[in-house]
């Protein structure tokens, strides 16, 4: 008996399989003692499973820096892999060439003089490059070694008088230096590899075509970004890093920093010009060229009369940029998506009046960063659903934060879904958050929708852990809802749980009585189910039913968004989908133009009328802004070498007619579908060329221009022009307007930060 004992536990835990299991079950049936043992073991296992979980986690800050550090490590790893791959290709090519040269004497007589000379040249160059690679490959170790020496110094310093440098920061800087030195060398290595490849000429063409798609695109765009990220994450609060090094003399630290910054800057510039060259080479008019986030170039109107893109209502980039700047780092250029910066802010565009789902407004003024150019703003405004159609909402989230809510598809998903809802609340809606687990509590007292940041922060700070006791929670939630009751509004408790709704001391019928009573007071109950396995479907449905509410199950973010946005907030539904914009420029008025931002939203001109092509959605009340920088006819296009006028092509007669027919600058065309429709409708808006002075443009126009200028400067865009940071801030400050939510005011502080960081102070 004793030897078989451990099978009891194994069986109880479902770890006994196959023959052993069958045998055990036979024995089990025969022995009552064994059955008793098993029963008790299972009971204990259940108890162990239900044991209150230890609720300790990392601090939010630790987690954040850890995530960043991990992301950097992953990026570095990928880069190393690319280097290895490129080196392998290079070796292959060289092998091939050597073989070819060995075979050369046999065919040399048939080769012409020049090609032999070329081969020889090629050979010589290749050898040189190979040496360079060798040297570059040896560098990283020495660099890292150099960077790693200071800790030894630090040991000395520790025994000496205390320095005034905060130890934590010094350590971080050191680690940053070590990491980024490594990083830089890797990148240099890649560069030389690529040169080597590029020099491989005809015989390597086939190999190039394998290597090219992965190598240039990814490494080129990753390089500056990862460096910045490294600096950012490492100088963040990583206690491990903190413990690695002791304090160090400030002088060394300054020197190290200088070296680091100098190198970073130089590298960034070089990299950007290189990338531009690549884009140029790929053909600027090819939509594929926009895959990498690189500023849209100026396009000559002649031959490129149409500019087509999909709308984008995302605003993530702004938040990301803000995060970088607030942690005293410049964001990598790739993270700055100008259209998302511009669209982050709300604008006072007029409502549609003619029964269309959105209005289109075009304003023409001067570009503040290039006064000789015009700036055209295309502004869309989705129709607002009249406020009268629904009362304000008084929502109380009752959130289960017990340990079982930990998995990704529960609490984290719940948070994201609720955030989507909160983002779209009206200012006079109210939100409170009650949590329940081991204890229940009011995490956020009823807060108006205009204090979004407070609500979002409270959601952010929720963490799972503890066991469930729903009874107190639900009482508290109802009480909160009643205290903030809005007459004629949507008063609702939203219970979010995986169904492990432990009623504790209250029994089920008491709970339903409670809910029914509350229903009479006008507070309704909605239930949102999350996760699997534990889901007590029927209980939840019953509760929702009694609470005069609905029960929905949320398995993904898109579902969460759908349910929360559609059901809880009627102002928020998609009013038009697949919204595309096509602008036709009049060559008689416009020499060239440049779409600012939307780099990854560019469509081919044929896509505009193709209803199968997907595009962006616009919700009720959404505003979308697109800016074009326009070069008036007769002026040269900046940053483009001039081309001699065509000798054989005459200007077409229709163009002549156009010229006479209209003083029109451009025509904006929009296509959109109804939310449930399959065929698109077309809106056309012709625009006269009557620019007003920039100072006389609408405040929203000026503010949007300031945001775009900020983005370009932050990206080190070649089109940023000569506005200084303080010029940009002045424009923004003049045009704050009403600024609900103080987002524009916050923008002013970001400009200051960016200015300070870019000047290196």
């Amino acid at each position: 008996m004793k030897t078989e004992d451990f099978r009891i536990t194994q069986y109880a835990l479902g770890e006994l399989h196959g023959k052993d299991r069958e045998e055990f079950e036979r024995e089990l049936a025969a022995s009552e003692e064994l059955q008793r043992e098993l029963e008790q073991t299972i009971a204990l296992c259940d108890r162990l499973t239900e044991l209150p979980k230890d609720e300790d986690t990392l601090t939010d800050r630790q987690r954040e820096s850890l995530r960043n550090a991990c992301a950097i490590e992953c990026t570095n790893r990928r880069q190393r892999q690319i280097v290895q791959r490129v080196l392998a290709y290079a070796a292959l090519v060289m092998g091939g060439i050597i073989l070819a040269t060995m075979a050369l004497p046999a065919v040399s007589s048939s080769l012409s003089q020049p090609s032999q000379a070329m081969l020889a040249q090629l050979e010589a160059r290749r050898e040189r490059k190979a040496e360079e690679v060798q040297i570059a490959a040896e560098k990283p170790q020495t660099m890292v070694a150099a960077a790693a020496t200071p800790p030894a110094l630090g040991d000395v310093a520790k025994t000496g008088p205390a320095t005034d440098t905060p130890a934590e920061q010094t350590k971080s800087d050191l680690l940053a230096l070590a990491l980024s030195a490594n990083n830089l060398q890797v990148q240099e290595l890649e560069q030389s590899d690529k040169k080597l490849l590029a020099d491989g000429s005809a015989s390597t063409a086939a190999i190039m075509s394998i290597a090219a798609p992965s190598a240039p695109a990814s490494t080129m765009t990753a390089a500056p970004g990862s460096l910045e990220k490294t600096k950012q994450a490492v100088s963040g609060d990583i206690p491990i890093a903190g413990r690695l090094f002791a304090s160090q003399a400030p002088a060394t630290r300054e020197a190290a920093k200088e070296r680091l910054d100098g190198r970073a800057g130089a590298f960034r510039d070089e990299d950007q010009s290189r990338q531009r060259a690549i884009n140029e080479a790929r053909g600027t008019f090819n939509t594929e060229a926009y895959d990498a986030i690189e500023d849209n170039p100026f396009r000559e109107t002649k031959g490129n009369e149409l500019s087509t893109f999909s709308i984008d209502v995302d605003t993530a980039s702004y938040a990301n940029v803000r995060r970088f700047l607030q942690s005293e780092q410049l964001p990598p250029a790739g993270a700055v998506r100008i259209e998302e910066l511009v669209n982050y802010f709300g604008y006072n565009y007029p409502q549609p009046t003619n029964g269309q789902p959105f209005s289109v407004n075009v304003e023409v003024s001067k570009a503040p960063w290039a006064p000789q150019h015009e700036l055209v703003r295309i502004a869309l405004k989705g129709q607002e659903i009249p406020k009268g159609d629904r009362g304000p909402a008084n929502l109380v989230f009752l959130i289960d934060v017990s340990g079982s809510m930990q998995p990704e598809n529960k609490l984290p998903l719940l948070k994201r879904s609720l955030k989507a809802l909160v983002e779209n609340l009206a200012p006079d809606d109210r939100v409170a958050i009650v949590v329940y687990a081991g204890s229940s509590g009011l995490v956020l007292p009823s807060t108006p929708g205009k204090e979004k940041t407070r609500i979002l922060e409270a959601l952010d700070n929720l963490a799972a852990g503890g066991s469930t006791n729903g009874a107190q929670g639900i009482t508290l939630a109802y009480q909160t809802a009643r205290e903030n009751f809005l007459k004629g509004g949507n008063n609702r408790v939203i219970l979010c749980t995986d169904g492990d709704f432990n009623v504790g001391v209250t029994n089920q019928s008491d709970l339903t009585t409670l809910i029914e009573r509350e229903r009479a007071s006008g507070v309704f109950l909605s239930v949102l189910g999350f996760g699997e396995g534990n889901l007590k479907d029927s209980t939840m449905e019953k509760l929702a039913d009694k609470g005069n509410g609905n029960y929905a199950y949320i398995d993904s973010f898109s579902e969460g968004r759908k349910v929360l946005v559609e059901q809880m907030n009627s102002t928020l539904f998609t009013i038009a989908k697949d919204v595309k914009v096509q602008v036709e420029f009049n060559p008689a008025q416009v020499a060239g133009y440049r779409l600012i931002g939307y780099e990854n939203r560019i469509l081919a001109k044929e896509d505009f009328n193709d209803d199968r092509k997907d595009a962006g959605e616009i919700g009720a009340g959404h505003t979308v802004t697109a800016l074009y920088e326009v070069v008036p006819a007769g002026q040269p296009l900046p940053n483009r070498p001039s081309v001699d006028p065509l000798k054989y092509s005459e200007p077409s007669p229709t163009a002549e007619i156009d010229r006479k027919a209209s003083g029109e600058l451009l025509t904006v065309k929009l296509r959109y579908k109804a939310p449930d429709g399959d065929t698109s409708k077309l809106i056309e808006v012709p625009v006269k060329n009557t620019p007003v002075a920039f100072d006389e443009a609408s405040p929203d126009f000026q503010f949007a221009a300031a945001v775009a200028a900020f983005g370009m400067k932050l990206r080190n865009s070649p089109y940023a022009g000569d506005l200084s940071w303080s010029d940009i801030q002045k424009i923004a400050r003049r045009n704050l307007g009403e600024d609900p939510g103080s987002y524009r005011a916050e923008f002013l502080t970001l400009i200051e930060k960016a200015a300070r960081l870019q000047s290196g102070k």
Partner: protein
């Protein structure tokens, strides 16, 4: 899934049990946190995709080593510049009263088990690892895991029954 996503996912899923596991070894929350951070940093230097299938045992194995490293360091500096200890076993004040008494007793009993058995209990019931994963995480054979875990559970059962009958009598 990209490596970053896998790591994020692992963080969501295992952060809490890993901290709890590490705390069992180091005895204090701060070094447990350090150990877990170190674990994930090491993870990000691995070929995460190749590890994905056996992520849990890998994490717990590495975390165990990191935690032991920390513990060794603390032992070397026994005056404990690092130990701003929080009593880890103290009941949190918010703990539910009705359910917690049984829970506390059982927790106490678990903490009295030999370290190896205590770790296995944690891996099984807190982190939800299978026998196979536990064997990988602890470098014990599967059958040894089975035997040790069984011993642990039977010990707990005996102690539990004794405490409860004592309480009744």
């Amino acid at each position: 899934m990209s490596p970053e996503e896998i790591i994020d996912h692992a963080l969501e899923r295992y952060e809490r049990p890993l901290i709890s596991y590490a705390k069992g070894i180091t005895g204090d929350l701060e070094s447990a946190r350090d150990a877990v951070q170190e674990t994930f940093l090491r993870l990000s230097r691995q070929d995460v995709r190749a590890l994905e299938k056996r992520l849990a045992p890998w994490l717990f194995f590495v975390c165990r080593n990191c935690a032991l490293d920390h513990q060794r360091k603390v032992l070397r500096f026994p005056d404990g510049a690092l130990s701003e200890e929080q009593p880890s076993d103290a009941p949190s004040p918010s703990a539910e009263v009705s359910a917690s008494e049984d829970g506390l007793l059982l927790k106490k009993l678990v903490s009295q088990l030999p370290p190896q058995q205590r770790e296995l209990i944690q891996l099984k019931f807190d982190a939800g690892l299978s026998y196979k994963e536990m064997s990988e995480a602890t470098r014990m054979s599967i059958s040894n895991v089975g035997v040790q875990l069984h011993t642990a559970i039977q010990t707990l059962r005996k102690l539990w029954n004794r405490e409860n009958t004592e309480a009744v009598s």
